[in-house]
């Protein structure tokens, strides 16, 4: 327990523990800032439609009959013409891009609404389309957090070898298995917390953005619970990625090896698998990590009659979690064994 406290203290005392997540948070702020500047509180540039708009005609006639003085002299035909883009540039059908907490990219909704142009309220059709739905953005950010965990994990042990302090530590606690497992546990907990905080921060930023540039529609307690679950699952996977990085850095005795190995795998794994081992796809690290984070399923490729490949269900998120855990556990066992036997010269 004393060693665990020491390692936790060391984790939180390291500059990289503050700097790397700090840079990550700044990038999140930057991303949200870009989304803010690219969206608008006003309706965006209107899209024109080349035919009369039924809603426009209906609402304008209704407004005339209700005594709108600006429409009093218009005949039905003139109203139809005014509701046609080609004849009346003032007639607008607009599309509103919504930053949505709960809607995904393919969602859109049309509704009759009025927009004011040159002081005249013109009814028309508003198309509301969700952009950058939060529920698809959060897992993407969580995957980036995994890379951050690898950097933190690799450097947590790599720095020890660089400074030679692992030797110093063993003069105080010679049980090497305990030492490496404590490093995994303490750093894993720390990395999970860092990852969780970053995801909460991102959620807050996106919530703020959606409230001023989109819609919070549907963000009920069930939605919040779902977000919490995604973050919790991400934290668990983050801890496992940290452990994986600790194991690789222990074996290689440096930080770079861990970062290069995991990042390299992240970049080339899909190519390698597609070329030489399609059967391995359901067991691939990042595929399973994403399935755990998003609560989704992992597919495998099978051949059907005629020789075509089709993707079918392989396993769910719990099995995916077990596979990610194995990815972390097996290198950790190997690293613990090697570290236990290693001469520190």
């Amino acid at each position: 327990m004393k060693l665990l406290k020491v390692e936790l203290k060391r984790f939180w005392s390291r500059r990289i523990t503050l700097i790397a997540p700090g840079v990550f948070a700044l990038l999140l702020v930057l991303g949200i800032g870009i989304a803010f500047t690219q969206s608008s509180a006003d309706p965006p540039d209107p899209d024109y439609v080349p035919q009369p708009d039924a809603g426009c005609v209906e609402f304008t006639i209704q407004a005339r009959e209700e005594g709108d003085p600006q429409l009093a002299n218009l005949s039905d035909d003139e109203i139809r013409e005014s509701c046609t883009f080609e004849d009346n540039p003032d007639r607008r059908v607009w599309v509103t891009d919504l930053l949505s907490l709960t809607r995904s990219d393919d969602w859109s909704e049309a509704r009759i609404a009025e927009q004011e142009f040159n002081g005249v309220a013109i009814p028309g059709t508003e198309y509301r389309e969700a952009k950058r739905g939060f529920d698809s953005a959060l897992p993407g950010i969580a995957t980036m957090v995994l890379i951050l965990a690898v950097v933190l994990g690799g450097s947590f042990v790599g720095a020890e070898y660089r400074a030679g302090t692992v030797e110093n530590l063993l003069l105080w606690e010679p049980r090497r298995i305990k030492v490496i497992l404590t490093k995994c546990l303490s750093g894993g907990l720390g990395a999970a917390l860092v990852g969780g905080l970053l995801l909460v921060f991102f959620t807050g930023l996106f919530f703020l953005l959606a409230s001023v540039r989109g819609t919070l529609e549907g963000a009920d307690s069930r939605f919040v619970l779902d977000v919490v679950i995604v973050i919790a699952r991400s934290m668990a996977v983050t801890a496992l990625f940290f452990t994986l990085a600790v194991a690789i850095a222990t074996l290689a005795k440096n930080t770079t090896a861990a970062v290069v190995a995991v990042l390299g795998w992240f970049i080339v794994s899909n190519i390698i698998i597609a070329l030489v081992a399609k059967w391995f796809q359901p067991f691939e690290l990042f595929t399973n990590a994403n399935a755990v984070i998003g609560g989704g399923e992992v597919a495998k490729t099978v051949k059907i009659l005629g020789g075509s490949d089709v993707a079918v269900f392989s396993h769910g998120p719990w099995t995916a979690f077990a596979i990610v855990a194995l990815w972390a556990l097996i290198p950790t066992i190997v690293a613990a064994f090697v570290f236990h036997r290693r001469d520190l010269t």
Binding site: K2, L3, K5, V6, K9, R10, S13, R14, R15, A159, A163, G164, T165, E167, N168, L169, L170, L171, W172, E173, P174, R175, R341, D343, L344, T345
Partner: protein, 307 residues
């Protein structure tokens, strides 16, 4: 009979490149407030031996026991009784000296006051808040020594503790090591600075090529090289060497001007005068060569590596 604090028998360490760094080393050190010097030329196996003592390296063969406990299987039970510094000081460069010590102290629950005392002992209290990376080599060395004191150990193992220290620092460390020995602790110190070892240690072990070649009290070791060499000053050393060689003396030319070294006990030094005077060569001075641990060390390890 009292249990040896350090008991090494038949220690052997072969590295992967086939080099035997230690080759059947035996060391026994009894408990008690004594300072034991551990000497050997570069590559003799001193640091490898110390690493084996501390469980950092697994011996290829032999037994290593500290306080009667087998290091390979049961080091954790006695590690709290041992303070050690191995080669260069190793701490986190971005943490302060105090924080580095605090991290180690927390591993075994050493009280904070012990950190203050250790820093005070090595004269680092004023700079304890500075980052380790900003320390001079001497300060780093002193911090490492402070770390060895934190556990209030019964056995202190120091590998080249005076490395990088200025003359004043060396004197401080010498006094510190002496005081540690006087306080009842067993101190095992390897060093290249033979003058320091001579002044600091009670006993000394000399190893070469991974084997113990001599062990004993410092005074006894020094006396080994004390008696048989006379330093003779003559105007023409070449002629003197020829005469003395012809007379059957063992003569060594030396680079100093007008000087030759003659192997003969002090009691028979008059034979040199007689031999030279018979050839009308008169010496202008003669004195016995001063005995030192360095001369004994060089003699014992002659041709086996540099210091």
């Amino acid at each position: 009979m009292q249990q040896p604090v350090i008991d090494v028998r038949g220690l052997r360490k072969d590295f992967r490149n086939g080099v035997a760094a230690i080759d059947g080393l035996d060391i026994q050190i009894e408990a008690g407030g004594r300072v034991h010097g551990f000497l050997g030329p570069n590559g003799a196996g001193k640091t490898t031996t110390i690493r084996c003592l501390l469980g950092l390296i697994r011996p290829s063969a032999g037994d290593v026991k500290l306080f009667g406990v087998d290091v390979a299987s049961n080091l954790p039970s006695i590690i709290g009784r041992i303070g050690a510094l191995v080669e260069t000081p190793k701490f986190f460069p971005n943490f302060s000296g105090r924080k580095n010590l605090q991290m180690l102290a927390d591993v075994v629950g050493v009280r904070s006051v012990a950190i203050d005392e250790a820093l005070d002992t090595v004269g680092l209290s004023d700079r304890s808040g500075d980052k380790f990376g900003t320390y001079s080599l001497g300060m780093k060395q002193r911090l490492a020594i402070a770390a060895t004191l934190l556990k209030d150990p019964e056995l202190i193992i120091l590998d080249e503790p005076a490395n990088g220290l200025d003359p004043a620092g060396i004197v401080e460390i010498r006094q510190l090591i002496r005081s540690l020995g006087s306080s009842g602790r067993t101190v095992f110190v390897s060093s290249h600075q033979l003058g320091e070892v001579q002044q600091t240690c009670d006993e000394v072990m000399i190893i070469s090529k991974g084997r113990l070649i001599r062990q004993g009290p410092v005074s006894e070791m020094v006396s080994l090289g004390a008696s048989n060499k006379q330093i003779v000053t003559v105007r023409d050393p070449a002629q003197a060497i020829r005469i003395l060689n012809d007379a059957g003396f063992n003569v060594q030319p030396v680079p100093e001007p007008e000087t030759v070294h003659v192997e003969i006990p002090a009691a028979r030094a008059d034979e040199i005068t007689k031999a030279l005077a018979a050839h009308q060569v008169f010496l202008s001075g003669m004195r016995p060569a001063e005995a030192s641990l360095e001369s004994v060390f060089l003699e014992l390890t002659e041709g086996q590596g540099e210091l």
